[in-house]
Amino acid sequence: MNIRSNMSGSLWKLVVKVGDQVEAGQEVAILESMKMEIPIVSEGSGVVEAILKNEGDFVQEDEVVVRLQA
């Protein structure tokens, strides 16, 4: 399952790492857009399989940030 960015901005903080168990509704990363912090939240649960963006990267809207193994 892919967790996508809900808008474009800079990836400020990743709050999960590969191997972490994530639950539905959990915050996985924080984006900074227009000087505001926007949480990126997982819609489902699973284990973090891959993190596709680094802190500081610019992320486009709908781009995959974290991949979960259901």
């Binding site: 474009s8 800079s10 857009s33 227009m34 000087k35």
Partner: protein
């Protein structure tokens, strides 16, 4: 010397605003822009324009070396910093001085002192200006924070000493919330301001935010240019500002003028600045912070006094006397400003995108940096324009503002215009009896219904 050419170290609406005054005064203008702003109107409005780097602010508008390099290359006499970015960066002011460039604003010492909220509070206390009860020094450990919070009494506000713009503030109601808030406020302060110092203040319930515009020249003349009520806020950021304040009593206003001037003169301030105060429900007021620059809401003061504040900044930077002294500064009528934000009016989330239709109302002041076709990028503040109306009474001013907002059409992005109209229609707002919690309580009431 007389300033003949100015570099504007800013972007968008405020760069446009400064260019307008410079053109009127016959002063040459130099714009700087990031790769994201190449198509912005202010870039073509200036006499010269220089690319200073990639879109992120820390790679462009915050790059002191790059801005100084352009200033020297363009042979400007002075730099106007606008607001935000490097406008309150004392190291930048030092660099200007070293390079023989006039910084249009106060001295680096004063900027440094007022930039630290902890220092500013200490200084105001020494000058007998009332400050919000809180910690005297920066708090380093959770134990210190807990001890302070318990001696002040909950609720408390954790604040970044270098903070501003509503960032780096957290409201805390109990010991259990405090540890998490302490960690997050510290990390945000470090990230946004490069300084992790934080302090604690008593949270004032249902406060009103009222500020005083002041101006001081190098000849010892100090004046106030009346107050601005800025209590309509969301996420600790102003949304609507007006003058006169509909709530302040004549006696309170006199005391506020005295306190603002006493504080500003006491620290050796020069140029225009704003002393921000918070009022509690009993009518007591406390110093909150000083903004050592032009404010976003300066047009409200310009409309009621007829004074061009950018011109005054340039005059003072030229070491000239204030163009008017207190007895000749009069206030006429009522003025109001609505900030147009590119954001979802319900969740307050940013709304970047390209504007594909733009219609402004006629016969009102619009301060903006956008045109039809402008792309609002995620790199900068969401404020895209300010609508300013003026009337002989508050009612007339509000009526004109409603009409102006209804006539404004912005397509392609979401804006806060629906929220602004909701506020203007709100009973508490119309009666002038509102606090900084107005929008929050409007939202809560809407959910209940």
């Amino acid at each position: 010397m007389t300033i003949k050419k100015i570099l504007i170290a800013n972007r968008g609406e405020i760069a446009n605003r400064i260019i307008q005054t410079c053109k009127r005064l016959g002063i040459g203008t130099v714009a700087v822009y990031s790769e994201a702003d190449e198509q912005m109107p202010y870039v073509t409005a200036a006499d010269e324009a220089y690319l200073i780097g990639p879109p992120p602010a820390f790679q462009s508008y915050l790059k002191v070396d790059e801005i100084i390099k352009v200033a020297l290359e363009a042979k400007v006499d002075a730099i106007h910093p606008g607001y935000g970015f490097i406008s309150e960066n004392s190291a930048f002011v030092d660099r200007c001085e070293k390079e023989g460039i006039i910084f249009i604003g106060p001295s680096s010492e004063v900027i440094k002192m007022m930039g630290s909220k902890i220092e500013a509070r200490k200084r105001m206390k020494e000058l007998d200006v009332p400050v919000v009860p809180g910690s005297v020094n920066a708090l380093e450990t959770i134990e210190e924070v807990l001890q302070n919070a318990n001696s002040i009494g909950y609720p408390v506000m954790l604040k970044a000493s270098a903070g501003g713009g509503g960032i780096g503030m957290e409201l805390v109601y109990s010991d259990t919330e405090l540890e998490k808030a302490f960690t997050s406020t510290k990390s945000r302060s470090e990230k946004f301001f490069g300084d992790s110092s934080i302090f604690i203040e008593k949270y004032i319930e249902n406060p009103r935010h009222i500020e005083m515009q002041i101006a001081i020249d190098h000849c010892g003349n100090a004046v106030h240019l009346f107050e601005r009520e800025c209590s309509v806020q969301r996420r600790h950021q102003k949304v609507i500002e007006e003058s006169p304040s509909p709530s302040i009593q004549p006696q309170q206003l006199e005391e506020l003028k005295q306190a603002a001037l006493k504080g500003a003169v006491g620290i050796g301030y020069r140029n225009i600045g704003t002393m921000e105060f918070i009022f509690d429900e009993q009518g007591n007021f406390y110093f909150l912070e000083m903004n050592t620059r032009l404010q976003v809401e300066h047009p409200v003061t310009e409309e009621i006094t007829g004074i061009d504040l950018v011109e005054w900044q340039i005059e003072i930077a030229n070491q000239h006397r204030l163009p008017s002294l207190q007895q000749s500064i009069k206030r006429q009528g009522h003025a109001m400003e609505c900030r147009i934000y590119a954001e979802d009016p319900i969740r307050f989330y940013p709304s970047p995108g390209t504007i594909n239709q733009l219609v402004w109302p006629n016969n009102v002041r619009i301060d903006t940096g956008i045109v039809n076709g402008t792309t609002i990028t995620p790199f900068y503040d969401p404020m895209i324009a300010k609508i300013i109306t003026k009337g002989s009474t508050r009612e007339e001013t509000v009526r004109k503002m409603k009409k102006a907002l209804l006539e404004t059409e912005i397509q392609g992005i979401k804006t806060n215009i629906p929220l602004l109209l909701e506020v203007l229609d709100n009973d508490q707002f119309q009666q002038g009896h509102y606090s900084t919690n107005l929008i929050k309580s409007m939202r809560e009431n809407a959910i209940k219904q």
